[in-house]
């Protein structure tokens, strides 16, 4: 590992959404200028992150020190291979989500659009901070910022349902963060004297001779405490947050919130505990089986949901655990499969939510049972939905296939027949809850009394983003090397 070099690009990437949020608030009275500010901020952020691709791939570790809180506790940013996967996905998807939100919010004449756009930018500020965090404190800081700044988005409609969902959201996320992550972080500080992440995925930061019991307690606290990762039993905030407008759901599920959760979990597993410690204290395989329960249970619940967004929400809960499962296998293929799923799931899931939103804007329908035959009216939307579903299922040539392949190789390397069974069973469940939606949309007969008169595809501002993200899912399926090259860089 080369010595870290100071880079202010990291600061620029972090400040772009923050400045963007301020500008959005200042220009709130002029919607077009406001939207332009969002676009510019997203563009600047993506361009800055993209400019880091080359040095990081060349093996450089970029850091940017911002503040020292205590000895061993600081606010420091770093760009390494793991952060780049998440940062690239988050910053790119922000651009197309801004476009989509514009179509969605104006299409439905939603209120408080300025607040919405500003909080959106702030959520991305938190997400990018998490991606670039160089230590546990910085990660925790931005993790909490995401929790707070997304509350106004979840409660956006300000009706009883919105407040209830928002309340549940905050209660789950802050209780777990304060009740589990904070004490774990303090225990780590007491044991190690620092909160900085290690430089490689093997050694971790615990000194030799650390108590196994304490390390295990800390590990469990962190695994459950980053509740944004949707691992059961602390997953219930996610379906509750479905009351939010669809672009928010898309953002929550694909980029900002849940990915912050799994990213934090994987960051901690690999760069605080490290493969060696996880192996020595036998933390990996039990974790894999623990999250297997979430994978299967959430899929089963998804089957029972008629509301499309609710079904997608449980699908998210299930898919997130793939990422943790892969990393917990502690084999190279498993870790690669898990982390690449951060990107693969993001592009597919955001497509699915964009489709759900487009259907709602065009037809005001939320339930799957009302969507029979709708594919004939909205062929492009449902085509994108089908492609993204294939990615979720893990069928070639879409991105999800890459994940499944690596996860299965990882499970075989780890010699865990049980995990292989879980992966196969979950694939069948994925087919069971996605295939009927697509099939019924294209080939289903209209329900009695239903008519599609006057219905057509949603506006281009809604259609373009979902087609782009679906297309990218296919491209990653054919050319997985871009993200894989980062992940392979972690093993150097």
């Amino acid at each position: 590992m080369t010595t870290p070099s100071e880079s202010y690009s990291l600061l620029l990437a972090l400040m772009a959404p923050l400045v963007g949020a301020v500008l959005v608030m200042l220009t709130g009275r002029r919607p077009n200028v406001r939207e332009a500010c969002s676009f510019t901020a997203a563009g600047v952020m993506f361009a800055t992150v993209a400019s880091l691709v080359k040095p990081v791939l060349a093996g450089e570790k970029l850091v940017c020190h911002l503040a020292t809180i205590l000895p061993g506790v600081s606010v420091t940013l770093r760009a390494d291979c793991l952060s780049m996967v998440f940062a690239l996905v988050a910053s790119f998807l922000w651009i197309i989500t801004v476009l989509y939100s514009l179509g969605y919010m104006r299409g439905l004449h939603e209120h408080a659009q300025t607040r919405f756009s500003a909080c959106f930018a702030l959520a991305l500020f938190g997400a990018i901070g998490c991606a670039f965090a160089d230590n546990l404190f910085t990660l925790y800081l931005f993790y909490e910022i995401v929790s707070i700044t997304t509350y106004p988005l979840v409660a956006h409609h300000q009706d009883a349902e919105g407040y209830q969902g928002g309340r549940k959201y905050l209660v789950y996320l802050t209780t777990t963060a304060k009740g589990l992550v904070l004490p774990a972080m303090i225990l780590i500080y007491v044991m190690c004297g620092t909160l900085d992440f290690s430089d490689n995925i093997r050694t971790g930061i615990f000194p030799n001779g650390t108590s196994r019991v304490l390390v295990t307690v800390v590990y469990v606290c962190l695994l459950l405490g980053f509740a944004k990762n949707g691992v059961m039993p602390f997953h219930n905030w996610l379906p509750g947050a479905m009351v939010a407008p669809t672009p928010v759901s898309a953002l929550l599920h694909a980029v900002a919130v849940v990915k912050v959760g799994v990213f934090s979990t994987t960051r901690v597993m690999l760069f605080v505990f490290g493969v060696d410690t996880m192996d020595a204290f036998n933390l990996g395989i039990p974790t894999a089986y623990f999250v297997s329960f979430t994978i299967l249970a959430a899929s089963l619940i998804a089957l029972s949901k008629d509301n499309l967004k609710a079904r997608l929400a449980y699908s998210t809960v299930s898919q997130l655990s793939y990422i943790i499962l892969g990393v917990a296998l502690l084999t190279p293929a498993g870790i690669q499969g898990g982390i690449v799923h951060i990107a693969n799931h993001a592009f597919a899931k955001i497509t699915l939510f964009f489709c759900a939103g487009a259907i709602y804007v065009a037809t005001h329908r939320k339930n799957i049972s009302q969507m029979r035959g709708l594919g004939r009216v909205m062929p492009f939307t449902f085509a994108a939905f089908a492609v993204a579903s294939l990615s979720m299922i893990g069928a070639p040539p879409v991105a999800g296939f890459i994940t499944k392949w690596y996860l299965l190789v990882g499970a075989i390397d780890a010699r865990q027949i049980g995990i292989i069974v879980v992966l196969l069973a979950s694939t069948i469940l994925n087919v069971a809850y996605f295939a009927p939606v697509v099939y019924q949309a294209y080939f289903g007969k209209l329900a009695a009394g239903d008519s599609h008169e006057g219905l057509k595809e949603a506006s281009p501002a809604l259609l373009a983003p979902l087609l782009i993200s679906a297309l990218i899912s296919v491209v990653i399926g054919f050319y997985p090397d871009f993200f894989m090259s980062f992940i392979k860089g972690m093993f150097l």
Binding site: V73, I148, Y163, L182, P183, I186
Partner: protein
Amino acid sequence: MDFLTTNGSWPILSVLIFLPLCGALVLPLLPGDRGARVWTLIVTFVNAGLSLKLYTGFDASTAKYQFGETVPWIPSLNINYTLGVDGISLLLVLMTTLIMPLCVLCSWRAVSSRVKSFFVCILLMETSMLGVFMALDFVLFYVFWEAMLIPMFLLIGVWGGPRKVYASVKFFLYTLAGSVLLPVAIIALYLHAHTFSIPELMGQPYSAMLQNWVFLAFFLAFAIKVPMFPFHTWLPAAHVEAPTAGSVLLASVLLKMGAYGFLRFCLPMTPVGVETFGPFVLALSVVGIIYGGLTALAQSDMKRLVAYSSVAHMGFVTLGIFVLNPRGIEGAILQMVNHGITTGALFLCVGMIYERTHSRELATATGIGRVMPVYVTLLALFGLSSMAFPGTNSFVGEFLVLAGSFAFSTKMAALTIPGVVLSAAYMLRMLQRVIWGGTDNPDTSHLTDLNWREIVTLAPLAAFVLWIGLAPTPFMDVFHVSVAHLIEQVRAGLPL
């Protein structure tokens, strides 16, 4: 007097103490209420400016008392007028002088009757509070300690809310009852060491029996002042009825005196007592943290909510002090300052709402985010600080206290975690109500956002919230050596 160093040529500590007193003497001669306000603002502002000299001139590399002054006062009893500050008291002195102008600003419109008397009380408070933190002679300390009760009693009793008489008498009786044993303890120590000098009384070979009894006497006085559970019941009453400035002074400065007493007297003078009763104090601290949090969660009156949150926060302070390790004590000192800033600011915020709606009920100040955006932004900042959000001042203090506690005992520290969660619960509940509310918010369209005077009142505190939160080093550097020295004193005083 080898414990005392003099920096500079003029007696800055005496000036800081007596400038407000002189200001109070001149104040009745000034024409009109407006003159009284401006004059008090000038005096407190000048005092705040002068006190910065303490920070710039402070030598952080020694545990000695600095800016020392000593003059014989009653030679026959060996009582001296001795002043000095060390790393432990410096930040408290600075916080006191900084808070005073803000108290004047927040009373600008809120106090309209007996304006001159009000500001005289405020200035007398400043004199006695600074005296408590600077006195290095026990008799002098006791004089300031008791002198403070009278202006505070008047502040609550004359300018307070509907139940002001009840609250002020309760406040007076509680604190007085606590202080009754303080002179007894002082005399007991004097009979042994033949001095009232606080530094000389430290590290004396008192018998274990004496130390235990003296500790208990100290403990009663300081625990009521902190206040620790179960001695806290005067606090909500006093806070709720006091005028805003009174609440701010209570929260920011008066509560710190108890914790300061533990650090200045109990630890170095009666280490054996600390050893004997430490576990009980820790238990009371943990109970206070949980109890304060639960009670705050149940309040519908914003001032009561903040008052009970003080009980919980001060529980963290005493917890940090009695785990007796550097992280714990440093965290406790920082948390004293943080609590002064954050809770003071929250009381100012509640006061600003009260001036507009004449109610402190959460239900009447619901959903005001739309009409008072500046106000709710600042309120959110202070609320997040109060729940120890990372990046704010309280996080650093709480983190250190908890790190000290986990090093002391993992199980005991784990018991405080529900309190940490509760602090998020009651603060977020309050913020949610105030900023958003529900679907049936009252009509708040007549409310106006903060004016410049109010913004200026809150801005310095907001700056400190973020400054200490993100760069606490300049604040913490001043007390490292003093804390290390304090822990050494405790260790040295314990039997091997």
